[in-house]
Symmetry: D2
Subunit: 201 residues, 4 copies
């Protein structure tokens, strides 16, 4: 089943709060921001949810992207798939807070991401529960995701349910093979990321 971010687990993993309250950095007021699974499921039928996504990259001394990081994981039905860093924006948090929080959730606390000065994403990805409305599908919800290319300068240790973070060259990341392995249509988003930084073949 294609879905945004990590698979559903107790504690709303897309919220980046782990198994309960208080595990994520910068967690907002729990009373209003924390949604039970039941509440989240109901909300997911009523309105679009706001997400942020990130393509982690390595850059050289002149800012040229040399490597692209893609998460490898097993989805709900046991398939090995690839995905990007992503997660929901909580009530009361800024986009930057959310981006930083999910980067730490998915890549560990030693990744040292350099969030871009501009809040404008390289692409806005619209996920619908029904295929055909856009290039992106998420059977659980209608989600609108602001996507960013984020240089990381430290050490990445994928957490949660990721099997590994695979570093690829831009050429490898552009390939049809990787495109086919990406969840939910994210091959399209990854290519748009590479194009935005001038390294798509």
């Amino acid at each position: 089943m294609a879905n945004v971010g990590t698979p559903d687990r107790p504690g709303n993993p897309d919220d980046g709060l782990g198994d309960g309250l208080g595990d994520g950095a910068g967690e907002p007021e729990p009373n209003s921001a924390w949604l039970s699974d039941l509440e989240l499921a109901d909300i997911r039928r009523r309105l679009p949810l706001l997400y942020v996504e990130a393509v982690p990259v390595r850059v050289d001394g002149l800012g040229v992207v040399t490597s692209v990081g893609v998460l490898l994981r097993a989805n709900d039905v046991g398939q090995i798939t690839r995905t990007l860093v992503s997660g929901r924006v909580m009530y009361g948090e800024t986009l930057r807070d959310a981006l930083f929080r999910h980067l730490e959730k998915d890549l560990g606390p030693m990744a040292f991401p350099q969030l871009p000065p501009s809040p404008v994403p390289f692409q806005v990805a619209e996920y619908f529960p029904i295929p055909g409305l856009s290039a992106f599908v998420d059977e659980r919800q209608h989600a609108v995701s602001l996507a960013y290319v984020v240089p990381v300068t430290g050490t990445c240790e994928p957490r949660q349910d990721a099997l590994e973070l695979t570093w690829m060259t831009p050429a490898e990341a552009s390939s049809p093979e990787v495109h086919a392995e990406m969840e939910g249509g994210r091959g399209t988003l990854l290519r748009a990321a590479l194009a935005s930084v001038g390294v798509l073949g």
Copy 2:
């Protein structure tokens, strides 16, 4: 009271559905997308809402922005203020559908807007119910708004509660006077719009 879009009235005016169901163009499945005032008020305390905003402009034959349109209206406490075209993205509708629907809601059916080919906004404005977190305030909610500059080629007849649509030169739109009259911090957003099309002084 500063707020996003038009003031609260029955039928969730920010949804662009007028006083009841079925008035807006491209209205999605009413059962899931339509939120009662009570439901909307509850949701507004729990998660951020997604909005689209537009700065209507006139362009010349070479695409240069020559006029900027700003809505003039009376807010809830009787002040005359200025604002932009805006409204909520409903469950199941694309950003383009929402943008088109709100442009028609605020400018009438003869405006003939030319939506930009790229879905990337010129700015992402984050409205919080508490001042200080960002440049934008909306006492009712946490809203994240994707803002676009949209050339209009037809005739605009502001509807709903707007007193008029004021066409200004870019210089007038950049002025401190207009900046001070804009609701919710939108003077900042208007200036960013002008800067993005190269006409901010």
Copy 3:
């Protein structure tokens, strides 16, 4: 021989002046702006030349790109290749003037292009006479090209040396076949164009 724009002919075709002075729309002061072949050849060894390029597209009523136009032509050695609308920026002309002038030169006077309000290109392509410095090659010169996606609303009649203007779907334009047929590395630029407007697969 891969090269930018149309092949070399008397009157500096990349300048869009046809076979002599005064054929292009918006032609600047001939005394200073017109360069003889000898002068142009010398300048081409001494400093980078500024170009504008355009990907003509058709859009639907909501601004979604539905077709992409690519020029088909025979290059200097008789190969059939594909390229984009392009040409040099002359002394004293604005980027918009240059863009409009080259669009008219390559697509005819009935194309009715809608130049974007923002002067920021979707990509900046750097062409070098030696491969390897970037994705783009032009054996004649070092050229830096500002590239734009431009909706056209009229009728296109390719002029100069183009055999035809081929309208393709975004999927066709993204294909490896078309990628391989583009001159000077422009397959990369075309893909970046499609990505910027959200239609790259």
Copy 4:
């Protein structure tokens, strides 16, 4: 006299080569790239010259711009004016090479700039020798400048003819006072830079 970058001195200071050949980092092939004053003056009447410009900024841990750096200098007629980091792109060098070279020329070798991953500028500024064609004037030439916001993480020691590098808050940098002190219309460019990173008031 308003002009782009530093005032004219032997060795074409806008080229960033100091008083002679070989002082700048990454200097290209001298035989073709180095232009004598006479040659440069002639070329400046015949075609547009390509420049890069940078607004140095400090960012916090979440990427938010907290300070903006503006160069203070005395121009040719003894006026104290403000300007940005800028300089010409030489034959055979990439935009990144030029940007890095001019940042080092104007801010010293310990500034440690973080060039953005994307080559797309926040604005393209067109300077003409005659006022009125655009917001920017350079009496010496027609120059087209690609402008970037560049975070710097080290220590800046302004070199060449700058009196100092003034660090300002975004609010100070947006002020009418600073706007009026900027050379060649660059107040407009500085405001566009602030708007692009969401800190223009």
